[in-house]
Amino acid sequence: MKRMQIAGLIFLALWFPAFAIPPVFANPGPAEGEQAPGRGMAQQATKGAKRWITADHSKHEALKQPFTSGPEVTKACLSCHSEAATQIHKTIHWTWVDPASPKDKPMGKGALTVNNYCVSIHGNEPRCTSCHIGYGWKDKTFDFTDASKVDCLVCHEQTGTYKKFPAGAGNPVKEPVVFKGDGQEYLPPEWNKVAQSVGRPTRENCGVCHFYGGGGDMVKHGDLDSSMTKPNKALDVHMGTDGKNFDCTRCHTTTAHQVAGRIYSTPAAKERKTLAQDDLTPRITCESCHTGTPHKPGVKANDHTDKVACQTCHISEFARALPTKMRWDWSTAGKKKDGKPFKEKGPLGTPVYDTQKGNFIWEKNVKPQYFWYNGTIDAVSLKDPIDPTKPVALNWPVGRPDDPNARIAPFKVHSGKQPYDTVNKTMLVPHLFGPPDSDAYWAKYDWKLALESGMKKAGLPFSGQFDFVETSYVFPTTHMVAPKDKSVSCNECHTRDDGRMANIKGVYLPGRDGNKVVEILGWAAVLGSLAGVLLHALGRAVSGRRKEG
């Protein structure tokens, strides 16, 4: 019997040291020369990125002719790239309409979408369409089938000198003009120079519009602003010039001018696939390169990838270099100082009041909000009824805890206060931008006139009665991926004190969720036991002393 016990002990003794080194303890941090498999996969998928090209555009005769306008350059481009305009015409970059949205309720900037920045394009085209990849979308009459109206240069020129005038309906100026909005002087392009410089789009090309959405730098996304033109690794591990130095198109892979990415209700990727499973899959998701189990074997984070988006842990804060706009209150617009419109700057050096626009709140290093998200964002259209008794979500992430494609993902939520029709219960389009004699708000500062004009231009009914309602608008946070030591730590979510996941429902989160009934009964049992033994001990002590005495 005893021999058997000793044998058992020896066996245990042999067994334990072998088991005593699980991966979590063996690898407290990344050892030298050893890294997570997901990083290795991504490095394999992206190394050797030297691009080559068989054409030198500065030698092409077509680009040496004298040009006086954009469309002339476009025609020259199309003389070789015969299908380019046809391809462009099918993209949302051109139509500003979500091709997947219903025909009777088209969604998109160019259709019935409404946001809580400048609200809507209708009536404000010349200003908004300075970010359209075309020439001359100044009102509804713009011809979307005209090939020569495609602006090849804004995405492809590489001199950095080509500028569309901010209020020029997508056209550059023909002679030097100062834009009153920013006081900058805009110069006519040196057409031959910019045309001969063309190449694949860089961060600068995409950034010209996408870093300045909403009318200025840092206004819209929170994870896309001018700091991303030349970010360092600390701001973005992929795009950092001291890191991987990726251009946007490194992930936003492009086929026939269709740039990979989410389009309103169409997710950026329909399936969760890696390049190893499908070498032509777009690199638009983290998983494309990093795989679905990117961390070292045995690391708990690998078990999170089914329900938690990579971005949730790896982008702990957005707007880390520059502040971003978090709130826009239109209801306070129109105040004047000495009868004149004015602007006021806040502590972050950004405007906090503007007579034209109302009050703003800006924030830096912002913690995202979290929602279940299957890659789809749904939105209120200008035709949809709204409930003004509570804040109106103008768009919202779609996804439920039980949806296998939905994961918890981070978002910037921009709040606003903007006009709605108190009779028709719909959101309203203000005509903002226009000449001094127009009904535009920035001309006469009269909401009623501006709303009547805006709704008329949008072809939508307006009762004439309006008020302001609280709204929210979401942006998925996916850029500005931080170095891994800046990831969100476990206890920021697995905590009872108002953690990052405080509002996430539909999942049992250890450390956040307890069980009240079990806890109350449990403590009753523990305290009961304690009281019982204390009383018993007291009894023994007293009776013992009595005997001794």
Partner: protein, 224 residues
């Protein structure tokens, strides 16, 4: 406790074998760590931080599971399981002793013997513990730990919320047991007698005339 006024003779007996003692202290250490890290992971307090607490808890829990298999092997191959067979015989005597006799300095109605280590009350308590509560805790802990594999194992219908609640309830039950257990070990003929026995194996107990048949673990029944 005061034993001088009794007429009992004290004898030294070898109660706990080496493995038994090793197992007892190993298990108590594992359980202590599991309680501390488990309640932290549940969100009760912050000591190691959630991540470290969970890592320790997982590692110690799996270790316990493996070590417990050896205990089960031991308990059956040595026949020690007979010490855990429950009985209601003379249960009331034991209860009466702890509620009354102990205060009057009466001798324990069932002094320990090598072949009968557990009195009827201990039998029922340790059986519940070793055959029900601890395995339940290991099972729910293992399920909790393997949450991500549930669908693959055909256990997709399980609810983490329920598994977590049962596991937490088990944790409270073990903590309650621990409190009572820690107190009860002071009730030997001296405050440290039981503890010393579990360390060196020998315990000084009151001499007892006979062990009744039903108490004996051995298959070969001996009489007085």
């Amino acid at each position: 406790m005061d034993t001088n006024n009794t007429t009992c003779k004290m004898v030294n007996i070898y109660l706990y074998t080496r493995y038994e003692r090793f197992w007892h202290w190993l298990q108590s250490a594992l359980i202590a760590i599991l309680l501390v890290t488990g309640f932290e992971a549940n969100g009760l307090y912050t000591l190691f931080g959630f991540k470290t607490a969970v890592e320790i808890h997982n590692f110690v829990g799996i270790s316990w599971l493996i070590a417990f298999a050896f205990f089960v092997f031991w308990v059956f191959t040595t026949g020690e399981w007979r010490q855990y067979v429950p009985t209601t015989k003379k249960m009331l005597e034991v209860v009466r002793y702890y509620l009354y006799g102990i205060f009057r300095g009466e001798p324990h109605p069932f002094p320990k013997r090598k072949d009968a280590k557990h009195n009827p009350l201990q039998r029922i308590v340790y059986l519940s513990l070793a055959a029900f509560l601890l395995p339940l805790q290991m099972l729910t802990g293992f399920l909790y730990w393997s949450y991500n594999s549930w669908s693959a194992w055909g256990l997709g219908w399980l609810s983490l919320k329920v598994v977590a609640a049962v596991h937490l309830a088990g944790g409270f039950a073990i903590l309650s047991f621990l409190i009572v257990h820690l107190y009860m070990i002071t009730t030997g003929h001296s405050l440290g007698a039981h503890t010393r026995a579990m360390i060196c194996g020998w315990e000084e107990v009151e001499e007892r005339e006979s062990i009744e048949d039903w108490e004996i673990k051995s298959r070969v029944k001996t009489t007085g």
